[in-house]
Symmetry: C2
Subunit: 106 residues, 2 copies
């Protein structure tokens, strides 16, 4: 869990994927292996993923000004206030510059 | 779904959160409202989140060289090859520079 760590000036690799129905057992074995392996990798700081009730939402924006405008949106501000009052134990927001983008498709 | 779009030079906001058990109905109503609202926001390009079987995994790294070294790791390379052969319909990798980081906790 990367909660309460300041990753400013570090890098995020956002990985999104959709599973086939094929070979769940093999997939899980590989996933566990990779998850153990990455812990020992130089420079590895931590990882967030959407299991164990951690929700991840990523939005994409043209400019930092657009992000600021969205943050200041009145209904969004109300949602943030209600979220802090009621819905969230914690949350973390990271604004990142996308330096490389690569897609693979079957 | 942001599959097959090139977000190079755009920005990603990575949002991670953990829900309380409180007011699921209110949360869903707010989430739907925000999800509709954001579509009309200037500069909004798209959004990925971990429902509807889209998996999101984010890893954090000290340097771009560290990311490259992990990509070239032999077992990781084998996992990539097996993933393309068996496990994935598609995937997308985005390497981002984290420009701001903010955490909130109850």
């Amino acid at each position: 869990m990367t909660q309460n760590k300041d990753y400013t000036d570090c890098y995020a690799v956002i990985f999104t994927s959709k599973r086939t129905n094929f070979d769940e057992e093999g997939y899980q074995k590989m996933a566990n292996e990779i998850e153990n392996l990455i812990q020992h990798q130089k420079g590895f700081l931590g990882m967030d993923f959407g299991k164990d009730s951690l929700r991840i939402t990523i939005s994409y924006w043209e400019t930092l000004e657009d992000i600021k405008a969205w943050r200041e949106n009145e209904i969004h501000q109300k949602a943030i206030k209600n979220g802090q009052k009621k819905w969230y134990e914690f949350y973390s927001i990271k604004v990142c510059k996308i330096e490389k983008s690569y897609d693979w498709e079957r």
